[in-house]
Amino acid sequence: MDPLKLYGENFSSRLLLGTALYPSPQAMLESIEASRCEIVTLGLRRQNPKDRDGAQIWEAIKGTGCRLLPNTAGCKTVKEAVNLAEMSREIFNTPWIKLEVVGDDYNLQPDPFGLVEAAQELVKRGFKVLPYCTDDLVLCQKLLSVGCEVLMPWGSPIGTGQGLLNKYNLRTLRERLPNIPLIVDAGIGAPSQACEAMEMGFDAVLLNTAVAKAQQPALMAQAFGNAIDAGRAAYSAGLMQKRQTASPSTPVIGQPFWHQQSRQQ
């Protein structure tokens, strides 16, 4: 067993799936099942949560048995994010919150300053905060210093499918924060990219668009589940170092020399 440990809870899947953008709720539920994920995110901002107007879809998502990770997607100020987190805690009876504070409207890039401020406030109020952040080491250290125990750096901006854009930064985070659960969140477009993040030693991957907007979402969800398993297994098994020169896996000694000659002809 190699569980993912977040805020004292163990999960066997290392994929976290978003619940937006699917062609239908049924396609979403089938994708969740096919992915074998155990944590799903959901956003309330636009559903008029104070009147519980999204309750029908929330109940269906709850019915999957996955742990719910409400998010503050769409919030641009600390106050908005904190208010929505409070409402989410009340509705879903969970202190877990995926904290998003949008700094730029076009690429939905996190606002690092607002993020730290909101995280500090939410930790003070008893939340278990999983902040969606950029891959900046100092920002990540600040988030840890205000009490976050899990970090979710981006691979690239939300919905772009660009994969791991700044591998140097991501590697630095992994090396410098070896004991902190790190989840690559956003920008993952292909299972190979998710696999790569896992091979680099990231603890999990969170994604949404790549599955939801696939022509066959459930099939893509399954592909991501498999890729993430493969990447984790590869990381645990220990990847070989790349080498400059080819090294034959069978010894040259004993190989008939005429074989070499026939190749040269």
């Binding site: 636009r46 009147d51 999204g54 022509q215």
Partner: protein, 366 residues
């Protein structure tokens, strides 16, 4: 003529009206009940932009929606011709095809749209790429903003509010009885007030969101639209704007009016349009042509699309024991989601074809 049937229809939205009208034309007796005032409809059909766009919609759904939509594209002109014969002003209907555009920075969205069309339709995909010059010929007022566009031939749109009013006139002209503020309940027996609905060969439940109390798997998907008016911009085609986060459309309507829609939010919320949505709708309009900046906003509207979990429509027949003399034949038609005008004619024709099954006294379920 085959046997004359006596039919009750609950819900005077698009399906209820079309079905009433077609049944009356076949010589049947129809009573149409609505819980509101059909003259001031609050149905999704009143809010909708009323495009008949099988290609555009297959991208966000599946092949069956396309097939039903193509069939509706053949039915609408025929039906409108019949409706317009005795109309003082004809209901506007046009099938010029539609345009799909994206700003140069979002070109991947347009490429994705095309890839999805190919996936769903294969050889039936007749969408065509337009370069700037072709776009200029086809829709000059937006050509300045876009390098490329997709042209989806045959897609149509109609003036839905005029259509809804015209259908009501025609139903009354053909002798249909229309009852405002008469909610029919299905629990599951159909009742009006305390009384079971009696004496009908078939009772159709076309209530859309009105059926939510009795159908737990029916949900509303909020949509918001904006109406604007200007004579500075002319559009001949419905235009869809692809953007990483919102996919919106602008549909020209008679009288230099345009409808811009629609947001899609998983919520039962029917409160007025939000500022966020208003900003998105206005931005879409403005980026098509900056001259829209001086357009006048005529109306903002928010409504719910009646939808099942798979976002596909359902026709369900049930024989329900009744307190009255005989069991009731109840047929539910619902879940047209964002595809009301695209699917309604095909579904109504399907229902008419199955009428003998629905009204046969021996039938249990179909």
């Amino acid at each position: 003529m085959p046997q004359q049937l006596s039919i009750a229809i609950a819900g005077a939205g698009l399906v209820g009206r079309l079905l009433s009208w077609r049944l009356l034309r076949l010589g049947h007796k129809v009573q149409l009940f609505d819980d509101g005032d059909p003259q001031h409809s609050r149905s999704a059909a009143h809010t909708a932009a009323a495009m008949i766009s099988p290609l555009s919609e297959v991208v966000v759904s599946e092949r069956s929606i396309y097939d039903m939509g193509v069939s509706s594209l053949a039915i609408w002109p025929r039906w409108l011709e019949e409706l317009n014969v005795s109309a003082p002003t004809p209901v506007h209907y046009a099938a010029p095809g539609s345009l799909v555009v994206a700003h140069p920075a979002d070109m991947a969205e347009l490429e994705q749209f095309y890839a999805d069309l190919r996936f769903h339709l294969g050889a039936d995909n007749n969408a065509r790429w337009l370069e700037r010059r072709d776009l200029y010929d086809m829709e000059p007022d937006i050509a300045g903003q876009f390098d490329r566009a997709l042209y989806l031939p045959d897609e149509a749109y109609l003036d839905n509010r005029h259509l809804l009013a015209r259908l009501l006139e025609e139903i009354q002209a053909l002798g249909g009885a229309c009852f405002a503020h008469h909610p029919v309940n299905f629990m599951p027996e159909a009742t009006l007030g305390e009384q079971a609905l009696e004496g009908f060969d078939c009772i159709f439940d076309c209530r859309g969101m009105g059926a939510r109390q009795s159908q737990k798997d029916l949900r509303g998907v909020r949509g918001e639209v904006l109406w604007a008016q200007t004579d500075e911009v002319q559009l001949r085609h419905p235009v869809r704007l692809m953007h990483p986060r919102y996919k919106l459309y602008i549909v020209p309507k008679p009288g230099n009016r345009f409808i811009i829609g629609a947001t899609e939010i998983e919520s039962q919320d029917r409160s007025p349009v939000s500022v966020q949505s208003m900003l998105e709708l206005c931005s879409a309009l403005y980026t098509l042509n900056p001259a829209f900046a001086e357009a006048r906003i005529l109306e903002l509207d928010a409504n719910l699309r009646p939808s099942y979990w798979h976002n596909l429509p359902l026709i369900e027949h049930e024989r329900v024991p009744s307190a009255g003399a005989k069991a009731q034949n109840i047929v539910r038609i619902n879940g047209l989601y964002r595809h009301g005008y695209l699917l309604a004619p095909t579904l109504v024709e399907d229902v008419l074809a199955r009428l003998p099954d629905f009204t046969h006294p021996q039938t249990d379920t179909v």
